[in-house]
């Protein structure tokens, strides 16, 4: 299939011109997301700086095993999708679908572990910063702030992951219709960037939530 037969919008000079521009646009969008989460990280810095003892007291109650497992899951999910992209670039459509499906299932596993099991556990142990919050006394304020950060941060990250699940499912659907080829797979690349970015955000959230406050 020659380039001339691949459609592109009329403001672009060629299909590859459009593809590179779309990828650049996705990277620019991810740059905005860096600043979006960055504001949350500044809030973490302030909360921990002014309430360090209480903050870390709260942090010690997080479920390290689940958090670490989830980190491994997302790393593997990023690997899986990237492999799928490599297959797409070489025309192996069925391997693309397989890898994307694996990535999707790993993402789903993350959601189940985090929201189905870990959050439920946290609620049962009264870690939700509501009226019956478990930690009282002097460290209570800082601990409560930690758990506010925990629930808010994992909620926002979870929303982004949910969008990612939707996008990856869309890629699998389009791939199953034969939409992609070595010459055209821009959506696969673009969604892959977003998917790996969700992983990147978690790689920073993970130590902020599970590790830094957990001094031995």
């Amino acid at each position: 299939m020659s380039e001339a037969t691949i459609a592109h919008e009329f403001q672009y000079s060629s299909a590859s011109h459009q593809e590179e521009s779309a990828i650049a646009g996705m990277w620019l969008f991810l740059a905005t997301e860096v600043l979006f989460f960055g504001a949350l990280f500044l809030a973490w810095i302030y909360a921990r700086h002014f309430n360090q003892a209480g903050f870390d007291t709260g942090a010690r109650e997080t479920a390290l095993a689940i958090g670490t497992a989830n980190t491994v899951i997302l790393i593997t999910g990023s690997f899986a999708y990237s492999a799928g992209l490599a297959f797409a670039e070489n025309g192996h459509n069925r391997l693309l679908i397989l890898c994307c499906t694996i990535a999707w299932l790993l993402g789903l596993a993350f959601m189940i572990l985090k929201f189905g099991i870990e959050w439920r556990d946290d609620f049962n142990r009264h870690m939700f910063p509501g009226p019956d919050f478990a930690i009282t006394g002097p460290p209570g304020g800082g601990a409560r702030l930690f758990w506010v950060f925990y629930f808010f941060g994992t909620f926002i990250h979870g929303l982004h992951l949910a969008v990612g699940l939707g996008l990856v499912a869309w890629i699998v659907w389009r791939a199953s219709r034969g939409d992609f080829s070595p010459k055209y797979h821009t959506p696969v690349t673009a969604v892959g960037l977003y998917w790996s970015f969700v992983d990147v955000v978690w790689l920073i959230l993970y130590p902020l939530i599970y590790l830094i406050g957990r001094a031995p």
């Binding site: 990828i23 600043l35 360090q52 790393i75």
Partner: protein
């Protein structure tokens, strides 16, 4: 195809090694002020994902520009934003 997949797989191994290092550092540092050092392997993991999975090195030049700009601006937000709490003189009120 083969070398590419190998590179992706080795990156995965490297990420898990960095995770193990991160956990190790977490066990090792006891001073709460120094705990943020744990973020160093985390940032390295981010770099690995960005370079090997997201292929920041490929694509048009402006991609690198966007990545650099986002990191620089994040540094300004977190750095200049932290300047106030780090240098504020706190006058504590007794809790009576």
């Amino acid at each position: 195809m083969g070398p590419r997949l190998t590179r992706l797989a080795l990156t995965w191994v490297l990420l898990l090694v960095l995770l193990a290092i991160e956990l190790g550092i977490s066990r090792w540092i006891t001073n709460p002020e120094l705990r943020p050092i744990i973020l160093i392997p985390a940032v390295l993991m981010v770099a690995c994902v960005g370079w090997f999975y997201m292929e920041a090195g490929r694509g048009p030049e402006i991609v690198r520009l966007f990545v650099a700009a986002s990191l620089l601006w994040l540094a300004i937000l977190l750095g200049l934003g932290s300047l106030d709490p780090l240098t504020r003189v706190m006058y504590y009120v007794s809790s009576q």
